[in-house]
Symmetry: C2
Subunit: 767 residues, 2 copies
Amino acid sequence: MNLDYIIPNEWSIIQEGFVKENVTASESIFSIGNGAMGQRANFEENYSGDTFQGSYIGGIYYPDKTRVGWWKNGYPEYFAKVLNAPNWIGINVNIKGIFLDLNKCKVSNYKRELNMKEGVLTRSFTAELQNGNQVKVNAVRFLSLDFDEIGAIKYDITSINFTGEIEFIPYVDAGIMNEDANYDEFFWEILQIEEEKNEAYILSKTLKTEFHVSTGMKISFALNDDKIILDSEVEKSEKKIAFKYKTEVKQGDTFTIIKYGGYTQSMNHAKEDLISSSKKTLQKVANIGFDDLLLKQKESWKKIWKTADIVIEGDIKAQQAIRFNIFQLNQTYLGEDSRLNIGPKGFTGEKYGGSTYWDTEAYCIPFYMSTKDKNVAKNLLLYRYNQLDKAIENAEKLGFKNGAALYPMVTMNGEECHNEWEITFEEIHRNGAMIYAIYNYVNYTGDNSYIPEFGMEVMIAVSRFWQQRATYSEPKEKYVILGVTGPNEYENNVNNNFYTNYLAKWCMEYTLENLNLLKEKYKDDFDRIIDKTKLNQLELDQWKTIAEKMHFPYSEKYNVYLQQDGFLDKELILVKELPKSERPINQKWSWDRILRSVNIKQADVLQGIYFFENRFKIDEITDHFNFYEPFTVHESSLSPCVHSILAAKIEKIDKAYEMYLRTARLDLDDYNSEVHEGLHITSMAGTWLSIVQGFGGMRNFDGVLSFAPQIPKEWKSYSFKINFRGTTLKVHKSHDGSKFTNESETPIEIMVHGKKVVVSSNECVAL
Amino acid sequence: MNLDYIIPNEWSIIQEGFVKENVTASESIFSIGNGAMGQRANFEENYSGDTFQGSYIGGIYYPDKTRVGWWKNGYPEYFAKVLNAPNWIGINVNIKGIFLDLNKCKVSNYKRELNMKEGVLTRSFTAELQNGNQVKVNAVRFLSLDFDEIGAIKYDITSINFTGEIEFIPYVDAGIMNEDANYDEFFWEILQIEEEKNEAYILSKTLKTEFHVSTGMKISFALNDDKIILDSEVEKSEKKIAFKYKTEVKQGDTFTIIKYGGYTQSMNHAKEDLISSSKKTLQKVANIGFDDLLLKQKESWKKIWKTADIVIEGDIKAQQAIRFNIFQLNQTYLGEDSRLNIGPKGFTGEKYGGSTYWDTEAYCIPFYMSTKDKNVAKNLLLYRYNQLDKAIENAEKLGFKNGAALYPMVTMNGEECHNEWEITFEEIHRNGAMIYAIYNYVNYTGDNSYIPEFGMEVMIAVSRFWQQRATYSEPKEKYVILGVTGPNEYENNVNNNFYTNYLAKWCMEYTLENLNLLKEKYKDDFDRIIDKTKLNQLELDQWKTIAEKMHFPYSEKYNVYLQQDGFLDKELILVKELPKSERPINQKWSWDRILRSVNIKQADVLQGIYFFENRFKIDEITDHFNFYEPFTVHESSLSPCVHSILAAKIEKIDKAYEMYLRTARLDLDDYNSEVHEGLHITSMAGTWLSIVQGFGGMRNFDGVLSFAPQIPKEWKSYSFKINFRGTTLKVHKSHDGSKFTNESETPIEIMVHGKKVVVSSNECVAL
């Protein structure tokens, strides 16, 4: 189904009317997060209908024992999974003896709004209970950007037609299980439950990984906005603690509960201080108070939007969509902690379990680099630098030697988690993305110290991997890379995937080039690195030889590089020739048929051309796009953005717009009928790229920042901002032309449609 | 470890001395069976050490829910598994209050013997219990060939040094679980437990498949060989029934229990009659009595050996091994029931779960065809004929149309069970083996009615599959078969596997050829088949075109067909160049490394050359053998036999002998440290082939039976017999020459080393 219930709005995601079938989808879409933690938009009060309860803490994972049908040598023992954490948002409500449950009562005036400008979720409705009593509920919730260990809830309940007792039962429930546990195991051990007046804490630790977490709550009340004090009854079980508070209300009275809650955890605190830290933090925010905390929240989101916002005029759904994507990316990762990363589902679901994929390097880094301080992107690079030893271990497990590294396909702590041989062992192009991200970062930020300080060690280890992984083919008299899976996972175990071979060659060349640079300009670092890595001349010679003699399958007939050896042996059936009833092919065809077909899941050769566009002539780009796109089914969320960017490059603006639409509202319109599982967080960065690099034509090869703005005919105008080496540049494009505004004190030189333009400080240049 | 405890003996498998570590291995090796059922050589009395209890009934299976890490479209919902059936052999023994348990007492004079000539298992030992009491035990057990629903046990216990009470507790236990259940589920429902004096029955049914089985036992006793009558105490629980019988013994007394037991089941009886059938059968064998039943058993095995035996002089271990293989094959399948087949582990274990693989068609049929009546091989063919509808359904699930069939990789009832995409969907060469077996059968037996009556429908359905599976490659201007796995599973998802393409081409040609024959000579059948299959001329034309234009990768440099496209791009590292520490590679290398390597698990191109040897010149066979064998690690039990046969063909007799040794004692010497999981039943047929087709050089192309006997220098002589179109021919080979004895009334014309020889009835020709 396509969701059609999200009401278009510039700054908010809005749902009106209660439909049970949409509850789990909305739980994903209305998710909130603050970079350190996040949660699905579950109801505070109990809901007996279909729901997927989820709350997640950045960095906290569990090594879930691998489940496979047939074991293959080299498989990891476990899949590290984001952990569904204790629920602190719960507030059960009992009205004159009947529990409020939207699954069981008549609901009207239901409205949910996720205000993206301010980072706050509200929900209001009228409910008529089984006994005829009617209440109006208004619930406001947010996870604080300013105090990233806590969230706050203000839950108002108003009697519409009765006098009597209302009971609030706020609780902390540590008995939550992962939806996707391989063996239905419970991953937590409950260590301690502590309570005092209006406060409660559950200290738990994860099995095996021994992360310790204190989940706390602190409660206060008001009746018709006047603070009141209530006594509680405590209900405690093995994994849960609840308080019961009762008060009498008259018709028209509003009874309010304010609940602060959240997590303090052992990545940031000593284990023995967790409960006391919880207490202090909750006391602090309680002292600030709900309203002032919310004001701070609005201010903090304002700062984020100041550089990150994209404005689209003339298409409210596009406007809503791009802000939704930017908002969710910021909810997932704010870049302050190099131990964290961006999971494909962020804090909105459990699918794909692990946190970090090559999505981060290939798609997310440009977004964070352009919309935030350069340290954010640096932290993402350091995440991989800090896991280099594990990547070397991972390669050793697969038979590689001498400090070669293979970064994992999926990871939490640097160890490989994935367990499909064709991906785990063969989708090795990810290793190249690590180096591409370094290149991208240095090129964009001009931070030339990163490679000598950190990057080079990673580059050497990855180049060593490519050297060992490439072998010499006598018939071809070239180096070949056999048995790989490219980005197009609708093929696997192929030979000489163009993208993989190209990245491998480039990695070795780029490493050699930078080694020369270091030798010249960063001699101390160079010596330290040589000493540490025991790099020798023979290796360098091998890299050079292999890079020079790398094999690339090519078709003279079509003037294109082939995705892999033998690609043209397939039946060249275009996507448009496939019956609609057979799509999406990943649901309609058996796996072998998908593999045999010429149909491509996501950009593969084109992904390479996108990365290295400056090395291809415009005709070559056009030829490759025209050859591959018609075979591509775009059944990966990461596919349309790359195609959108390249289509814009070759001035197929309608195609670019078509592709943009497929990426922008993927979740809001639930194209793939899977939004209930969580959001496609990493592909949201691709949507941003579609505008900035696609329509905006922003490029940054060899330190030159360039633009080539175009605009789809469906829009009036659009504008975006980027941070570039200390300058904030606003780019505005309408059908009348482009405007470049320099919002900083330093002048900036850019290229627009191939011509040099200087934008002075605080000036606007219109073209 | 290599087992070194099996004592060489011409006719028996013998173990002396009790070693706990060998219990599970011996349970496999000493397994007994009668074609309808079989069991591991578990002890009758309870054993608290490491043991794998297993008893299996031919045809009784359970659809165990599929377990995979990542679901692929097209996977079957379940894996049909041989079912571990209720235990009827159990006899617990209590001596003056202490249970006899070899894990807990001092054991001496331990001896086990599996007498292959007579089909009987004996075990004797002296045990000193914890209280110092010593007993001598002698247990004799067999599964009757004459009454294939029952087995019999005679269990003697003699007091060596005490006077006192001995208790026998015979039982039936229906609470047995499969060792390899995917989700640790219990697959049976217990319906009824019935007992009367000295008899008990448990009626149970399998969940889902609803096979009903009555497991029964019937008991009698003797004291010092005199029949005695004892009263029993009954112990009944939900899934088990036991009787307790006590008697006083003096020093030197022998107390004997005779237990008949076994299964009657709903494939052969009405469900409601199962217990009464059990009773009748047990009554019948009890009337015959243990000793006479055993005499019958010996007679029946004598008949089997009369044609099946192979005699090797001068190498007792080789003699023991070949008889072991022939014995186990006969224990597994006797060919009387076309609903049964030959599982890779027979009745000796659960690994590979399903019953039927292409092993049957490629390896087992020649054995059964030559050592038994032709109806046995015909029954194996009919098994597939009867499952044709399911094979068509299976192909439909994968997107094939118009009555194309894909026979399953693993099956019990005709439905696919396997769930590894690279095998389930891609190891399609199995489909060709079905047709090869038909060809082989018709060619050997001269039964020309099989194809018109049954075979042609299968041939058409399989040819339709190949036609749809092959596609046209523009660059090659040939038909290609993409995305397959050959017999060498150390490669997968390859293009144009020589063996697969060759079989596909041959299948279509052979079908066309036979269609012409039918049209001419079996017009009624032809019309019936055309009508039923709706075969049309266009299809025939397509088969012809595809067969003519099939692509076969070839190397001009090495003068060999390549295993697949791009095979020579690999590093051509010979097996002898691999460090010993890295072998077996399936234990030492990660899966991707195995896939990338040139190393071959089992005969692939050579498997094709073996099947179609008459189409290759001797130089070609030599070139292919010399090219491929050095890359082959033979890590499949089905590999050495084919190599042994081809090595003999090209007169590399030492290599042939080396390969023979790897197949002959695979289980007895436990080369792969896995015999505890069960025996490699189907590869035992390969051992037989190594002698008859390898050293004996027996061939049968185009109806001509030929021989080219050679003998390894390590042997004095060997002889084997074959049934060929009503004639029994004995072939004897020593270093002095060959002798051919015709043991029947019809003269036979054969070729020996290329020269025609006529052997008259009941005559011996020495050459």
